[in-house]
Amino acid sequence: MSDSSTNSVPTTAKVVVLGAGIVGNCVVGHLARLGWKDMVLIDKGPLPNPGGSTGHASNFIFPVDHNKEMALLGEQSANQYRDMDLSVDAGGIEVARTQERMDELQRRMTSAKAWGIEAHLLTPAEVKELVPFINEKVILGGFYCPTVSVVDSLETGTTMRKEAIETAGLQVFANTEVLDVLTDDTPRPNGRRKVTGVVTDKGTIEAEHVVIACGVWSNRIAYMADTYIPLVPAVHQMADVGPMDILAETNNEIGYPIVRDMDTFCYERQSSGSMEVGSYGHRAILHHPDEIPSNQEAALSPTEMPFTPDDFDDQMETAIELMDMLGEAEIKYAINGLLSLTPDGMPCLGEMPDVENLWSAAAVWVKEGPGMGQVVAEWMTYGNPRVIDSHGADIARFYDEEKSDAHIWARAEESFIKTYGIVHPAEQWAGERQLVQSPYRSRQEDLGAEFFQARVWERPQWYGSNADLVERYDLSEREVEWDNRWWSPITVGEHLNLRENCGMIDLSAFQIYELEGPGAVAFADYLAVNKVDVPVGRSVYTPWLTHDGGFHSDLTMMRLGEETVRIVTGVFDGGRDDFWIRKHMPNDGSVTFRNITKEISTLGLWGPNAPAVLGQLTDHDLSQDGSPCGSYLDATIAGVECKLFRISYVGDTGWEIYVPWDRATDVWDAVLEAGKDHGLRITGGGVYSLSGRIEKGYRLVGAELESEYNPVEAGLARPKVKAADFIGKEAYLAAREAGAEVQCVTLSVEDNTDSQGRKRYMQGGNEPILDMNGDRIIDSHGRASRVTTAGYAPSVGKMLLMGYVPNELAEPGTDLQVMYMNELYPCKVVGSGSAFDPEDTRLKG
């Protein structure tokens, strides 16, 4: 029995943080810095090392990542480690064994440039100079980053925790197990419950906020609150081999750069006289949290599980191939180490959508620990993170179909091998498809649809039945395989046909909500920048801001009735928007919220012939008078009651047709039939999401519109600000007052020929926009100009890019450069409006 003199936990606290690994420690440290007091930190294991993933982490940070959030948070974290003097710049080299990897290294160089991280491409001989024991004959080159750092995550966590103890009176309880998370389940209009405290084996704490930072155990804790954090504990093998003289002679924990041999899914990192060899190349070995042994039962620690040597043999062979000296070194220590995997590879941060004040700080690796601790702490303090836009890591992003063990396990199995893989920005998942389907599925299959997945929805990106358009418009495949991957010239054909005739697009993945009640309109106005209180039958396209005045959403709101507002938003933002509504809506019963996504399907019909097509199906006046832009009307199409909403996201006139889900195919068939003589083609997402949009310069949430930018900078500020209050109004007014130093513009790539004479096509993966000296363009907030969207514009005949540039570089005609795959291409600023039909004549016709 343990002693009775252990203090029992306090009965109340403002914040209880569960988990004292790198994340939990950094959360309390950052909360303390933000002025929080009355906090409690709990872990079921001992301190300083409670036995979680932090305790056996390899502790190195390779800062270059193609993903913006991961790159910037990694760099942020690396700097926090440096500030605490718990970091050493060891340098790191990603070696390439294949030409494909060499190409990827060019992409790495580009991302390094985008984020301002020093990087160099090395020849095999140059690699060998830095790492003399490498066999340079098996590599083609290397990507060297001198600021790859090795950190002491355990000490960092301890330091942050101690800081919180000293400055904020944090109370810490090790060896204390959480038995339950308490919630107030009283039904409320917003459908959310509320956390009220935690039960531990040393007493119950009533708490206002509870943060789950339990690493691989996070979902088990989430279950206690009847909620779900989509992560699975997964194995990553590592072995310590040595000693080897050449390493011991450095007299240093780490004297040589770390080597990532990604083609063989391995890394080699010196650890004093030994080499730590890690592998991401084995089969996905997943564990249910309940299978993780306790601190008592584990031979080493709960997250250092027994090694399965068979799974490591391939990596052993290839590691010896790269570094011969490893062959004779003894394997002194080897484990199946546990870490967390999520279905989409991004962490789970933020407030639980269904439980108020219950926060998730999970699926974070050492490399982003401090930064993500800060993200969660700021989220709790300001209502949104300030250090970086975190929509990709926001736990609210998940749909219900993603919140199942079966789904996460299947995704983790597919994604694990991609940890060191070369992943195309448009790459689609092979498994776990058709989680949700539109009503048109079988028709789309018959039309040869190429389905892309949008979270849990399936959207045709283009249709094989339109292959004849390739010849009609004399189109061709792209020269370089990478640019051609997950792309087809059919999509260009569909675009041109839409602009010439018309196209019908399946938009069933739209997330549709309805607010109803006496308080609905006022609440809707509180969410939105632009005025929602418009006459019934009208709509407004509006941003929703964070409390700091940055973009949270950008969507359509329709006044359906005196007390009814319909909201339509994109599939990638549905989770976060649903949460945002629930979080802010009043609970006095004046507003009800319904998610009617699966009750209504949407078809888009646009093009010069769209009015003619639709005119055959309804007697309604479809002219600009009868059906003005931004308005909707009720009509019966093929015997089905629909709403016709005059709006276009592709720059040609037309409608979004809202159809009852169970009658959707009737309308589909009717429109296609009516369009036969008007050149109507079924058209895919390639046009809707990209080519149509980019030609018009329409901004998109998650691309141009992020919380780091405000409507003034994005060029979406209207002449007047409505009188009603709304979230972020104060910050928005201040931004209008201050004016913007950057603008969102469209640029055209003047010559996309690379050094080998091949035409290249940017992917929209944060390629850096550079000045004519090839330098990064950074504004006073430290934001670098980068490509937020890239796409070929068929009606313009050029490759177009979108991004933010400083005012002085935003004049139309300004010459700039874009880097793609480590080569520079000349571009010109087109302007902050549309590259195609800038006067919007097609929309007004």
């Binding site: 009775s4 043999d313 052993m316 062979e317 010896i320 004779e328 003894e330 394997i331």
Partner: protein
């Protein structure tokens, strides 16, 4: 020299060991497996003797297919041959185990007898203290237990056994059996190449044949926990005073 080492696959627990629901075995769900510690030293000892005197080392184990892992581990540190005396993997009583092993060794020796045969003094789990002795008798060879030092001469083997404050010395013919204990040596770890080479080991599998002995397991269970409170004397160097008080009370000061 031809050396045979008999090893047993045992789980590697932490600070707490669990029993399966039916009480018939250790719950090894979370556990890794290893060669029982005395035998690990036996394997290392055999390999050192091979390195010194030339010859080859065979490792033998009785168990289910999963026990091949221990044979391959031995190969990864230098053993030449592996023999699996295959059973259903359930724990066997010591008489049955010894009988099956003795028969298997007898078959292995039809052409070419072993010089030295090593057993662990006792296995980490069952701790029967008798399998090696029974096998030695079945094979008509002398055996001494508790050995922590082996020297091989021309016609004899000198073996050292630790006692309190020193050691006893035994001298046996070269064809003998020794029950060794951990401390015999510090076993080497496998090298990466050793591990890869071990995958090529061709394991000879023979059926384990023997009748059950007189013991039959009813169940395994944990001993009753002696619940007593630990008195915390303090949480830092300041506790030194309280500690010395205790030492004084006990009369060890």
């Amino acid at each position: 020299m031809k050396i045979l080492v008999c090893v047993k696959r045992v789980p590697a627990p932490g600070a707490k060991i669990n029993v399966t629901g039916d009480g018939m075995d250790v719950d090894s769900a979370h556990l890794g497996f290893t060669t029982s510690p005395h035998e690990e030293c036996g394997v290392e000892g055999a390999i050192q003797l091979k390195e010194e005197h030339g010859g080859e080392v065979t490792v033998l184990t009785l168990g289910g297919g999963e026990a091949e892992e221990q044979l391959r581990y031995a190969a990864s540190v230098g053993a030449d041959h592996g023999v699996l005396v295959k059973t259903d993997g359930a724990p066997w009583d010591p008489q049955r185990t010894a009988a099956a092993i003795a028969e298997a060794i007898g078959d292995l020796e039809t052409d070419d007898p072993f010089d030295l045969i090593l057993f662990g003094n006792e296995s980490a789990d069952a701790g029967g203290f008798q399998v090696g002795i029974r096998v030695a008798h079945a094979l008509g060879r002398p055996i001494v237990q508790g050995i922590k030092g082996i020297d091989v001469g021309d016609g004899s083997v000198t073996a050292r056994r630790e006692i309190d404050g020193g050691f006893e010395v035994y001298e046996l013919p070269r064809t003998c059996v020794l029950g060794v204990k951990e401390g015999l040596n510090l076993p080497r770890y496998p090298t990466m190449k050793g591990r890869l080479a071990s995958k090529k080991l061709e394991i000879q599998t023979v059926d384990g044949n023997a009748d059950a002995g007189g013991m039959a397991r009813v169940r395994l269970r944990r001993p009753a926990e002696q619940v007593s409170e630990t008195i915390i004397l303090g949480e830092g160097p300041k506790a030194a005073s309280a500690v010395v008080d205790v030492l004084e009370e006990l009369g060890v000061l």
